[in-house]
């Protein structure tokens, strides 16, 4: 039995809704499951964390959840989307389960272990029925030899290719090599006979064949099982990983562009090949636009919506070319380069209640959060501030939230503050707040929350952009502790650009102190924080600095680089 062809490993009917099928091919245990969108996943049957079989876990329709610690893996890309033991951290992208290709044809699920897809198996024809699979405790080669000698009534002798045609119709049997000493007899039949009696008759044929195979196997030595082989995890994951991700470039195609609100378009970005990396609620991607600009957009995706990234873009009146380029120039079918999703706005799921507050197009990451919370049955409310009913974005997604979406339309600054005071009245234990919107609204929310006594750690902000004026007048030295370099940062240039010139720069993205990508550890010196990313407490602690906009109040900074 070659592992370089497509092999049937399940019947399509085995993949019941919200069920996880347990399979095996060449000693490799498989967890096979169908998501609610119809996609079939063929994965290694093992949680990457502690090796527990995923087949005892739960298929939520969009994710597979491990029974042991609740790790969640996304439909299609198998990336880990949430690690409940660390609710505030985004799991690294490299935590990704092992997957194999899936093909659904003739009522069977097929997979293969070859490096590239082999030719599709020949179809038996429309209307083919999959037989009841029959497990056998014997070597697959022996099973094959016995089947080749069969001549089922109405079909005639099978022969070496295990295919027979006769008055009853056409029959093809197959042997799934589960392990060195285990096989599953599978088959397809195309016939005009009534299905149920035919399937019963052929089920009996396979059962009797099984008895004969096992009778012969009893005289032979029992083959040793194929040893369990798992891929080693990435080296950086082996030692209590820091939660970081690299700036990988991904090519995508604009699969759909549609208007989802006044002056708001949604783009659906599909991967050119393979699956897109997993994303989590709150994540954003960098989009390299055709006009050379790099812009960050939050993903709107709901759990399991993994075949594409969905972003929403509002045409900004003072557009510097980003939103205008998308609205006016970008068309369906265009290609774009994007980054892997990054997450600075992680959704904790250990709160008793979650309060989501959106201003305008800032609703995008909160839509993703709301969908995740809804799927898990966790309590939340989305408070959505917008200029008018027409500017509410993504109406279809909002409709799914029902009464848990509360709109606030056409409020001025004072009315907005009043509404925020109502929403943020009295912090509760185990409540978490997520706010995304324009800077004035975020500032108002920050002040309101502070007045109401919310702990800083319970209120999370995502700025679209840092609208503050960056003061670049200072000049100072930076010393790089690990690289043993000393560099001068003159007025008018950022730490980041000096680091880039020296070839020791951290990854970076927004260049305006909003995304947190270029953050490094500060070992000594007094920072001049000009970003909107770090919390007040983090700024006061002085242990981290965003190198793209922040500078020094002291003569020098020592960075952990």
């Amino acid at each position: 039995m070659s592992d370089m062809t497509w092999v049937p490993v399940a019947n399509a009917s085995d993949l019941a809704p919200r069920h996880v099928f347990q399979g095996r091919l060449l000693g490799q245990e498989l967890a096979i499951w169908r998501a609610d969108d119809g996609n079939v996943n063929v994965w290694e049957n093992r949680c990457l964390h502690r090796g527990v079989r995923l087949s005892i876990g739960v298929n939520t329709g969009s994710e597979l959840v491990c029974q042991y610690h609740g790790w969640r893996y996304a439909n299609r890309n198998a990336g880990c989307t949430y690690i409940p033991a660390h609710p505030a951290d985004a799991p690294p992208h490299t935590i990704c389960n092992r997957t194999w290709p899936a093909l659904e044809q003739d009522g069977l699920i097929w997979t293969h272990f070859a490096p590239v897809d082999p030719p599709r198996p020949e179809s038996l024809g429309a209307g083919a029925l999959a037989l009841r699979p029959q497990p056998v405790a014997a070597a697959p080669e022996l099973a094959r030899a016995v089947l080749a000698g069969l001549s089922p009534e109405g079909f005639g002798p099978l022969g070496q290719d295990l295919v027979a045609s006769g008055p009853a119709g056409r029959l093809r049997l197959m042997v799934q090599a589960a392990d060195a000493g285990r096989a599953v007899l599978r088959g397809l039949v195309l016939s005009d006979e009534a299905p149920l009696p035919l399937l019963r008759r052929l089920s009996l044929v396979l059962r009797l064949a099984r008895d004969e195979i096992e009778r012969r196997a009893a005289t032979l030595p029992v083959p040793a099982p194929i040893p369990h082989r798992s891929e080693r995890v990435a080296p950086e994951l082996a030692e209590m990983p820091e939660m970081v991700s690299g700036p990988a470039r991904i090519r995508v195609r604009v699969a759909k562009k549609q208007i989802v609100g006044e002056d708001i378009v949604a783009l659906e970005l599909a991967g050119l090949r393979g699956t897109l990396p997993a994303s989590q609620p709150g994540a954003h991607i960098d989009v390299a636009l055709p006009n050379g600009l790099l812009r960050q957009y939050s993903l709107v995706n709901a759990p399991g919506e993994t075949d594409r990234y969905v972003i929403g873009i509002k045409r900004e009146a003072q557009s510097t070319g980003g939103s205008a380029a998308i609205h006016d120039s970008l068309a369906e079918g265009d290609l774009l380069a994007i980054s892997e999703p990054r997450n600075n706005f992680t959704l904790r799921r250990d709160a008793e209640e979650t309060v989501l507050i959106a201003g305008g197009i800032g609703v995008t990451p909160l839509l993703s959060m709301a969908a995740a919370l809804r799927d898990e049955g966790l309590p939340f409310t989305l408070h959505y501030f917008a200029a008018s009913a027409e500017t509410l974005a993504f109406g279809e997604r909002l409709a799914l939230l029902g009464e848990r979406m509360v709109p606030y339309l056409g409020l001025d600054a004072a009315q907005t503050t009043l509404a925020l005071q109502g929403i943020l009245k009295g912090p509760g234990a185990d409540r978490q707040v997520y706010v995304c919107g324009p800077a004035p609204m975020l500032d108002a929310a920050r002040a309101t929350a502070a007045e109401a006594g919310w702990p800083e750690a319970a209120v999370h902000f995502e700025y679209f952009a840092n609208t503050r004026e960056i003061d670049t007048s200072s000049s100072f030295r930076i010393e790089l502790a690990r690289s043993a370099l000393s560099l001068e940062v003159p007025a008018g240039r950022s730490i980041l650009s000096v680091l880039q010139e020296a070839g020791v720069a951290p990854p970076s993205s927004c260049s305006q102190g909003a995304c947190g990508t270029c953050m490094v550890r500060l070992l000594e010196g007094e920072p001049d924080h000009q970003d909107v990313y770090l919390t007040g407490a983090e700024k006061a602690a002085g242990e981290k600095i965003l190198t793209c906009v922040s500078r020094a109040k002291s003569d020098r900074l020592i960075l952990d680089l």
């Binding site: 919200r18 029974q67 609740g70």
Partner: protein, 212 residues
């Protein structure tokens, strides 16, 4: 209030707890330390049930000492004419067939679990082999039931006592070293049983929803 003489890890006792949970029947739980204490053989318990078996259902002057007898009693007492014990002659016969089948599961898969986990002096290999035979018959039966559009062991639209009687020893089989990988239709049926409204778990069995 009726009293259930109960052992937490017993598949037979779980049958009674499961049906009582689904039907919303209140009862007092009297824990009998079957393992490791062997208190089912204590004089105190032998006075309750001279057979020394669990579970025992004690309600007024009624004392029932077998799981399936208790299931039949509870279904007729609390849901007479309901789906759990159909009155239709053919279906009533089918339910009885599966109650008998479940006895076979208890003396095979159930015995393997006692031998492997609690080290009872039983023939583990023989019990495992018999359990595999029964599981295969069940899997085949359920596979064809699905082809007929059915979800349950009997030809009913709703689950019956057959489900309650067979489910525990099937779900706990891995503790007896009996994997269910070869029985996909049996695994799907188990998933459906877990979704019956009012379903409750016992140690060794996970709910259909994470952390429920």
């Amino acid at each position: 209030m009726p009293t259930l003489y109960d052992f937490d890890l017993s598949a037979d006792c779980y049958k009674v707890r499961l049906l009582a949970a689904i039907l919303g029947i209140p009862y007092d739980r009297h824990n009998v330390d079957f393992f490791p204490g062997m208190k089912h053989l204590s004089p105190a318990f032998l006075a309750v049930n001279p057979l020394g078996t669990l579970p025992v259902w004690d309600e007024g002057d009624l004392r029932l000492c077998s799981a399936h007898a208790i299931l039949v009693y509870l279904a007729e007492r609390h849901a007479p004419g309901g789906p759990w014990l159909p009155r239709d002659p053919a279906l009533a016969g089918e339910v009885q067939h599966w109650l008998g089948f479940a006895e076979g599961l208890a003396t095979s898969a159930g015995a393997a679990r006692l031998a492997a986990g609690m080290e009872f002096d039983l023939d583990l290999a023989a019990a495992q082999a018999r359990a595999h035979q029964l599981f295969e018959r069940m899997d085949e039966h359920l596979w064809f039931r699905e082809r007929e559009g059915g979800n349950w062991l009997c030809r009913t639209l709703q689950p019956t006592l057959a489900e309650i009687a067979c489910f525990p020893d099937v779900m706990l089989s891995e503790e007896g070293g009996i994997a269910r990988e070869d029985y996909p239709a049996l695994r799907r049926w188990s998933d459906r049983v877990k979704r019956i409204p009012g379903f409750e778990v016992m140690p060794g069995i996970f709910p259909a929803k994470i952390g429920a």
